[in-house]
């Protein structure tokens, strides 16, 4: 009976942890059957991220952009819209910020002020990106998934356009921008790692998201709208404006993410393809059940899996892409409403039987 109670109470958590464990075990199976030296590959995958200080901090560094995109997606999903623009917004914001920091603005702007200004610009760029599909959807009911996936391609090409024609450094052999102004960059926190002050901004973003959604009137409106639009109308909430606001903030968070990533980790702008952080952000938000408080943990988990896979990819004979498969499987399991449903049902029946006897 105690176990039944436990199962019913923590069912979501049990489901998610089971999905992660299944995904993880599958990853081991993948490695085991594919590698010529399976034990080493498995060891590298699990322990690799802890093998050195640099690698350990790589996980945290990767979690920073993932946090921004998943928090952005959290806003989109909270209001019930599959607005996937965080992918493109993240990239375009990075490009615009890099252009400003490398070419357009004088490098002499004082430190602190310079990055702060750029991050605000990034937020605005992202906000604009979130606004467009939101408007198209609210005004004309254009399918937001297809529209945003298409717009993501447009934004990607807009970014490479900026790179190629506005800030390309022709003195280097690869396709890259001029060097970013030193004053614009976010400081590295720890010697021997790339961990930068952006982590504080990321933490602030988590707190902001939690606070905004749970502790403000606007966040309340977003949650009601996402949960039951008819009810939102019935209690007098302006449904269209909460949809717009949520998607603008979601876009802005992605924009800040793009800016922080560029200013924290890069000397030049180098992105020529979609980063994929937006889709990973979607997966993180889904796995965290859209709870801002849970997002950091899931983001760290995904970063850990990704870094582990990267190390496996570079040091062994297994391609790192297997981790995408694993991440997808975890999400598929969590999204399947009926996954493990029989367990819950049995527990509920057992409980109700016991309660019946007591009565």
């Amino acid at each position: 009976m105690k176990t039944s109670k436990f199962i019913v109470k923590y069912f979501d958590l049990i489901r998610i942890i089971s999905a992660v464990i299944i995904g993880f075990l599958l990853a081991l199976v993948f490695l085991f059957f594919v590698s010529d030296d399976p034990l080493n590959a498995i060891k590298t995958f699990i322990l690799g991220p802890f093998a050195s200080k640099r690698r350990f901090f790589n996980v945290i560094e990767l979690a920073i952009p993932l946090l921004f995109t998943s928090l952005g997606m959290c806003f989109m999903l909270k209001v019930g819209e599959f607005n996937l623009i965080v992918e493109g917004g993240f990239m375009l914001s990075g490009a615009v910020v890099a252009w400003l920091a490398s070419t357009a603005l004088p490098p002499g702007i004082p430190p602190v002020i310079f990055p702060a200004l750029l991050i605000v610009v990034g937020a605005l760029v992202g906000m604009a990106c979130g606004l467009i599909p939101a408007l198209l959807n609210i005004k004309w009911k254009a399918n937001v998934v297809v529209v945003t996936i298409m717009l993501n391609y447009v934004l990607t090409f807009a970014s490479t356009y900026i790179l190629r024609y506005w800030m390309r450094d022709t003195s280097v052999t690869y396709l890259g921008s001029h060097k970013l102004a030193q004053n614009a960059k976010l400081h590295t926190l720890l010697r021997g790692t790339d961990l930068h002050t952006g982590i504080f901004i990321a933490i602030a973003a988590v707190l902001f998201t939690w606070w905004f959604l749970n502790r403000t009137t606007k966040g309340f409106e977003i949650r009601v709208t996402g949960n039951n639009r008819s009810f939102a109308k019935y209690v007098g909430i302006n449904v269209a404006s909460s949809m717009l606001l949520a998607q603008m903030i979601g876009g802005a968070l992605a924009g800040v993410g793009g800016a922080v990533e560029i200013l924290g980790k890069y000397d030049r702008f180098l992105w020529v393809n979609q980063t994929g952080y937006g889709f990973t952000g979607l997966m993180i938000s889904v796995l965290a059940l859209n709870q801002p408080a849970a997002i950091p943990f899931v983001a760290l988990l995904f970063a850990y899996l990704q870094i582990g896979a990267n190390i496996v990819g570079t040091t062994t004979d297994v391609p790192s892409e297997f981790v995408m498969v694993i991440q997808a499987i975890i999400i598929l399991l969590v999204a399947a409403t009926l996954f493990m449903e029989s367990l819950r049902k049995r527990a509920v029946i057992k409980l109700s039987k016991v309660e019946g006897e007591v009565k």
Binding site: T216, R223, N228, V235, N238
Partner: protein
């Protein structure tokens, strides 16, 4: 020569108890003769729908047996019922609007030619069966373009094509014009003459009188009377349908009204997009401290009325004022700020956000007020304090204020809604079916709260209910709605009997314009 009457259908001793313990049918017996039209009468919630679901195979009865042509039978599902010759015309048509009449008719049993669907054959089948039963119908028309009457014919033909000998019609006239109704009756009588059996569900007694041969009346899930239509007057049938039920007592003081008019509805008209006029020249007023009951069979304009007053729908003509201010062109929130609270009849769609906490559901109409927020910041302490008090006051049984509302029982969700709508400083409560489908304890609680609102707080309540007992016991005055119009006004609800109300609700009687006009304060 007198033909022996053959009993084609017998539903014997049917009892249906739903999982929540509600007994919708208790030892019901329904018998129909071949070649007759049998009326199944009863108020909303009397158990007619449940009984027909049993007959159509969508519910397995807890007890009882169905006999078809004398043989016991049990239907696995609706398909099984169809195959045994039972057809049903649902109130909401089961038609694909985008397809043609012929395609709808043969769906699931499509004729085939060289592996493909043979549309011409389908048209032929349609024409043949239409001719056989003397129905006029255009096989090639798109169903969505057809009138409601044609759609209904198509539904009947669908059942006939599948070999229906027994045809259940669930309130078929509710959606038809008088001309269409008489046409339908001609066709139904023809079907009867062709030896089909029809179970006819209706609230409109004049129709029943003119069409049916025999009747069964259900009340509270039990059969109250069976007989031949010709032996009873409309009046008598009406009395049997709404006769007194196991009653409950409500103690309430006399209204302490200062005569302040809080709600005034004047010459209200509403026409929906299909051009159907759903509210016609509705006028009434409601003063402080009083409960005005709105009686009527469902679908006679009550829902539209409540949605218009709360701002969810825009009205076509007329005016509504709340404590002197017109609600024309006001948003839902503005109307709520004028002091309107409402309980919607559709609890899960309009009443709550099921995946949000009990607390969030309670504050959903006031989170933005100065009491609970500063700027955009919510004052969680104030919210917690007040919601905890309300949960206690309104006796909401939930594991914690943070539990999801959707996890609770219907009665508890209704209490959450009451906690929200009754605790804001509402001057007017629109209570639309406030106790439908909830347990006795919860509904008693809601009743006492409604009385408290008016007697202690001086608010007024517009109570829309299909439950006549509730209506008579709670209301100070009552208006009756029929076909979108007010057909009766009773100044003193305590002097009305349910029998009397029933006559107006079922369209047997209508008061004079002058009498009805007294509902509006001059």
């Amino acid at each position: 020569m007198v033909q022996m009457e053959e009993q084609i259908l017998l539903m014997d001793n049917i009892t249906v108890i739903y999982p929540n313990g509600f007994a919708a049918n208790k030892n019901v017996r329904l018998a129909c003769n071949r070649g007759s039209i049998h009326a199944l009468l009863g108020e909303n919630g009397a158990g007619k729908t449940t009984l027909m679901k049993v007959l159509f195979g969508s519910i397995t009865p807890t007890e009882g047996q169905i006999y078809l042509k004398g043989k016991p039978i049990q239907f696995r599902d609706s398909l099984d019922a169809i195959q045994h010759g039972v057809g049903m015309v649902h109130q909401h048509f089961m038609l694909v609007d985008e397809l043609t009449v012929a395609e709808n008719l043969v769906l699931g049993m499509e004729p085939k030619k060289r592996g493909l669907f043979d549309f011409d054959a389908a048209v032929k089948i349609t024409d043949e069966i239409a001719k056989k039963y003397n129905f006029e119908i255009d096989a090639r028309a798109i169903v969505g373009d057809c009138s409601v009457a044609v759609k209904q014919k198509l539904e009947i033909l669908k059942a006939l094509l599948r070999g229906a000998e027994i045809l259940i019609l669930d309130e078929p006239t509710a959606v038809l014009t008088p001309q269409e109704i008489s046409e339908l009756f001609v066709e139904l009588k023809k079907l009867r003459d062709m030896n089909h059996t029809i179970v006819f569900i209706s609230h409109k007694l004049n129709e029943v009188k003119s069409l049916c041969d025999s009747f069964t009346i259900l009340r509270n899930g039990q059969v109250v009377d069976v007989g031949r239509i010709d032996d009873f007057t409309e009046q008598e049938l009406s009395n049997l349908m709404v006769g007194r039920q196991v009653s409950f007592e409500i103690s309430k003081d006399a209204p302490k009204s200062e005569g302040r008019e809080l709600l005034r509805v004047q010459n209200l008209h509403y026409t929906n997009y299909e051009g159907k006029q759903l509210l016609k020249d509705v006028s009434f007023s409601l003063t402080d401290g009083r409960i005005l009951g709105v009686a009527g069979v469902e679908g006679n304009g009550q829902n539209e009325l409540s949605e218009i007053i709360t701002g969810l729908r825009r009205f076509s003509k007329g005016d509504i004022t709340i404590d002197g201010s017109s609600i024309k062109n006001r948003t839902v929130r503005q109307i709520r700020r004028l002091g309107v609270g409402s309980i919607s009849e559709d609890r899960m769609t309009y009443g709550c956000a099921p995946n949000m906490s009990v607390r969030d559901n309670i504050i959903a109409d006031r989170y933005f007020t100065g009491k609970y927020s500063k700027g955009i910041r919510l004052d969680i302490k104030a919210i917690q304090k007040d919601t905890n008090a309300l949960i206690k006051q309104f006796d909401v049984a939930c594991p914690s204020p943070d539990s999801m509302a959707g996890m609770l029982s219907g009665g508890n969700i209704q209490k959450i809604i009451a906690a929200r709508e009754f605790s804001s400083d509402s001057k007017i409560i629109i209570a639309n079916q406030p106790t439908r489908g909830i347990d006795v304890g919860s509904s008693e609680f809601i009743h006492s709260q409604l009385i408290k609102m008016t007697r202690e707080k001086g608010a007024s309540v517009l109570l829309i209910s299909a439950d006549l007992n509730e209506l008579i016991k709670l209301s100070d005055s009552i208006i009756v709605m029929y076909n979108g119009e007010i057909t009766a006004y009773f100044e003193d609800a305590s002097k009305v009997t349910d029998v009397e109300l029933g006559e107006y609700m079922l369209g047997v009687k209508k008061m004079s314009t002058e009498e009805i006009g007294r509902a509006l304060q001059q």
